[in-house]
Symmetry: C2
């Protein structure tokens, strides 16, 4: 663990600022194993979940006097991270937003694997296949937190969960939900090596009304790609295929909405 450090950066051309700014690009996040989260609220959620930033950038105005910011600074320093007092212009450069938050944290990517998960730790797990939209991804993490899910398992080529937009949409759930990026074959092998019911939301044949099924814990809710839905083989491998009623012209819901409606049904059955 490094010595506790606090410094000041005011130059837009500072090398650390330049380096951290690159974290808005996926290949740099991958190379560094780091990601960026904005906002005192999200950084506080992280702290409460025991996750501290390696670098914490604070704009003097606004953040300095806030008790949550003080707690964050102390925890970051105690955890061996570096605290950097800086300007709104630099925060804006880091986050890519015109009106930046007063706090930007740089966190290590957890790199959780399937084998790290304790499936019995939660009654609900969300599983998404080739999710394309970072907003949907973050929203699913946020929903997972709300329903008491254990985490989100991303299958195949999904959008990067550590993109700024995904982290923002998660409202901090990126720090409270476990997150695994894997492939279908590996997921299915892991799933079948233990208890767990795989429930596919599916628009094809052989489906049941989503309220006509009694779900067994742990329930793995499988949601398909935004425009194409699930591959047929994935749906076929599920223990049950379910569909929400569709009363209008459309035949599908937004992926994050479908996941949430399903997850609340499973939660509601458990509440009864």
């Amino acid at each position: 663990m490094a010595t506790a450090r606090r410094s000041r950066i005011e130059s837009l051309s500072n090398p650390l600022v330049k380096r951290m700014r690159l974290l808005r690009e996926k290949r740099h996040r991958r190379a560094e194993g780091l990601f960026l989260a904005e906002g005192l609220r999200i950084a506080t959620e992280a702290r409460e979940a025991g996750v501290l930033p390696q670098w914490l950038f604070l704009a003097d105005e606004g953040a300095a006097g806030h008790p949550l910011a003080k707690a964050l600074v102390e925890a970051t320093l105690a955890g061996g991270g570096e605290v950097i007092d800086t300007t709104p212009a630099i925060l804006s450069k880091l986050s890519g937003k015109d009106n930046p938050q007063t706090v930007v944290g740089i966190y290590a990517e957890p790199k959780t694997r399937l084998g790290d998960l304790d499936r019995a730790a939660a009654p609900i797990w969300l599983v998404a296949e080739r999710l394309r939209d970072p907003g949907n991804l973050g929203t699913m993490l946020r929903t997972g937190d709300a329903v008491g899910a254990g985490g989100l398992i991303l299958l195949d080529e999904s959008t990067d969960p550590y993109a700024v937009e995904a982290v923002r949409a998660s409202m901090g759930a990126i720090f409270t939900q476990r997150l695994v990026q894997t492939h279908w074959d590996d997921f299915l092998a892991w799933l079948r090596a233990g208890p767990g019911e795989l429930v596919a939301t599916w628009l094809g044949k052989d489906t049941k009304d989503y309220q006509a099924v009694r779900y067994a814990a742990p329930t793995f809710i499988l949601i398909g790609n935004e425009s194409q839905g699930l591959p047929e083989a994935y749906a076929a491998a599920a223990d049950v295929r379910v569909k929400m009623p569709m009363m209008g012209k459309a035949d599908s819901l937004n992926a994050a909405v479908a996941g949430a409606v399903m997850a609340y049904e499973v939660l509601n059955q458990r509440r009864r």
Copy 2:
């Protein structure tokens, strides 16, 4: 009604292309009373709902031979609209996307008022207050279509429902759901002049579990601003305030998700 017309445009500096391209900006949409929808699928949804474009731009390759594109061309011409055969580069310029769809339609904004709504026409209506995110707005329209809602009533200063991102996220529901932009006072006066239960999703005090209430039709589901929720006065004026269970660290759901979970509860009660 104008004479049926079909023409070809290949120049990026064509005056009509320049004018239609400006529809990506809200003030031009407002001034023209027009908006832009991309994609054969959405334009077909519109046609099936009886809504035809004033201008239909088609990229020759891809679209020309498709039976749905042919049906769209015929309907547009029969409806007095203009069909414009054009290039992918021009569609890209119109939609602002690198990989444009093969079809872009320019539609008249309906400008529906509260007085135009038949509240008895549907058991569910969605009402959103100061919605900020166009993706959330489009997603709520899409959910409204799925649950058989009559439409979406936008209160106060919400994001523009005719923005390209909102239209895209609606997946065509912008053409099947009624859409009214109004203010709280006018909405409440209209609501109280007829039957209707106003249900507020509310994180404050005096709430009931959202499954403990029996909802009466027409049910108006009121969802607050993404970051601030509903103003207290709005929640207080509702017939009932409800809350979804929150099992995690977070205290709220994404606005479009909250609206969907509520709407499916109301629909599910009616299905029983």
